[in-house]
Amino acid sequence: MAAKRRPRKSTKKSARRSTRKGGLRRLIRRLLPVFLLAVIALIAYAFHLDVKIRSQFEGKRWTLPAKVYARPLELYPGRALLQGELLAELRDLDYFRQTSAVNTGSYDVDDAVVIVHTRPFKFIDGQESSQRLKIHFSGQYVQAIENMGDGLPRSLVRLDPVQIASIYPTHNEDRLLLRLDDVPQQMLQALIAVEDRDFYNHAGVSIRSIGRAMMANLRAGRTVQGGSTLTQQLVKNYFLTNERSLSRKINEAIMAYLLDFHYSKDAILQAYLNEIYLGQDGRRAIHGVGLASQFYFGRSPKELNLSQQALMVAMLNGPSYYDPRRHPERARARRDLVLQVMREEGYITPGQAQRAIDAPLGVVNKPNSKVNRYPAFLDLVKRQLRENYSEADLRTEGLKIFTTLDPLVQHHAQSTVSAELKEMERYYGIESGVLQSAMIVTDTVSGEIQAVVGGRDPSSAGFNRALDAQRQIGSLIKPIVYLTALEQQAGFNLTSRLMDEPLSVELAEGKTWTPQNYDRISRGEVPAYLALVNSYNQASLQLGMQLGVDRVIATLRRLGVSRPVNIYPSFLLGATELTPIDVTQMYQTLANGGFTAPLRSINAVYDAQDQPLQRYELELEQAAEPGAVYQLNRALQLVAREGTAKALYERLPPELNLAGKTGTTDDLRDSWFSGFTGDKLAVVWLGRDDNKPAGFSGSTGAMRIWGRLFERIGAQSLRLVAPQGMVDLWLERETGILYDAPCGNSLQLPFKTEIVDTLTVKSCQKKTPKNWLEKMFGQ
């Protein structure tokens, strides 16, 4: 309009001042290049926007966080599992309770029976399909599993794994990608009816909608309706800013037009459904209908009922305003509006609409946090991942990381540590919060790490004591000394005589070192097993000095510990600093009969398309002679039967047959216990961060936590299998005489067959009733 008037004005003016005419022409001539430049700039700008929107749409449209999973729960008849533990796992998995468990991802409980409708899941070794299972419990066991589809029993099934963490892009967006086919038709109809009626007809921007919106807003005197098409909303979500300016609106419109020009309506709709923001879970932003469906309804979009579909469409308009958990009334009103529109458009019958309006919102409880539930364990996982993946890959490529974490064990481990430290502080009147502890639990043979406790506070992502606290290990080193002797010293056996008496060791700078026993009593000549079982320092040092520090260190290296250690004689009594995870690796090799399996927190890494990228497999290295390890482990069982760890059996069942060793350092600064059963190894450290005396020996501190843990988790009995070439003899305790059969007050011990000839073995003349202990050990 203004442009038209201006020439007229200038004509009038030109009549009066003709000299100005030439000036105006000059001005136009001068402005013309500027104008042309502006046009070129606009075209270039549009081109720039085109490239930008196309690369956004076609390229890697979404950065997907890496998902970290726990181990899947294996269910089989005979498995020690409490019904409550299965239910805890199902809750961890965000299964919802539903009568008869009709939908996948639901469960139901009826007395000692749990019905689970499992979700399908693709594992490393095959697909686990969705099944409706009836799981019967009997006491502490799974008694039977029945597939309700065919009525047949199942001998082994596994649930999908719990997601324990996500490694997020910096903007914390999370989504579950879906295809258009994954969305129910009715929901698409509702979406278009409510948000963009002309979607299939307009060219990305709809003048009609803008007009309609303007009219509505004018009538209302405020903004009540937006004229944005779905395409515009998609563009807006791509470059999410909250700026409400004209220039942004124009950019949006140009890009929407360009998108519509380049791509099909269905492609745009699918992108919209994956992109759209639908809520917040702490720091995690919920994007896309796929994830929102899980987040709000605990099921996939295909499984949503009409009412839930309408609610989902309702929320699109303002996910926080219509948040059905925080504002159920608003959400319900909006949902009903959506249903009403659907009915008016003829997508649903009035009857269907009414039933959906009468239905509850159908929202499940807020799912468990997927951000980082076990920071100490995730810390270990990330360290292992960084060896092979860049930080960017982890945050954006949608990797799936299958870890070895056992949430049930982790839960018990963490709660035991937290509760026991509190209890100890209370009981002994220690300032609250001063004691610290760390624990690692592994599978004995595979080296898979089931739990990591980095400190008393489960949510702390700070100092990870399990991995980083370097503390003196005290008597935990002793088994390594005895193992070296059993392997390398000709004729050495568990009854070999050691001198438990003050021993002075020459140190550098002319100093001497004369260690004491824990109770400051020297016992003179003692059999080797007794020195180990009761943790006599002087006898062990004497043995270690015979062997030489170098040889003992070499044994430690073979068992898998690579950290630099103290090379002085005090090493032989554990005056060297290791971390709990170092100790775990060392004892894992013992628990595994002399075979080292590198500790693992990851089983496999998959890419976003479910293709395996990497497997971390079980690998074994024979690190020690199985016969020597067998003798050592038998002695470590005696530690718990009658030595420094015998208090464990006050509460644990005698059949557990656990093997273990206590460790205590000077002035009670560090309290350690490392012990294993048939299937689990746990290492516990307890002390103070400032390295001041904590006041606990291995038995009174760390071992107590270990014992409490094993009361709570079901562990298999340790049944040591003698390797070839071993024979048992009976040592009469008072006389030290060896018999070939149980005799009087005698102790059954293993020997290498080849050295039996060098020993004096008598036949027993006394009648000895077998006690339960000997029956147990009689292999």
Partner: protein
Amino acid sequence: MKFVYYLLALLLMWISAGCTTTPETDDGMLPMPRELEQPQVPVQETPGVRAPSRSNSAVASILLDVQSAIQAGRYSVAASQLERALRIEPANARVWHYLARVRFNQRRYAQAANLAAKSNALARGDEALRAQNDALIDASRRAMP
């Protein structure tokens, strides 16, 4: 000389294949874990203290899957399944032996030998299995570069 090793290896694989495909033979290669037949240590359930898992048919069902995976040449799947079986029964010498065999077929000879040695350490009294482990260790050592 190499040819002889090759023949030995072939022979071993033939024996293995024979064993896994004929579960009815009574040569100790039944997919049923031996532990099932052994008397169990009686488990007394102390109130408040958790009892360990009992032996079960879960491992047997995994071993059936393992057999078909091996026959189809899907060794890494078989290995994953065997690892799964070991989580349930860590002291099952037969499962360790199968895993050793899978590694041998994958030409991972060092692992095959180590795993067979582990099987041996648990296979006391099972002379047939020990002999198979020993043969596998021999063949692995010979095949190693």
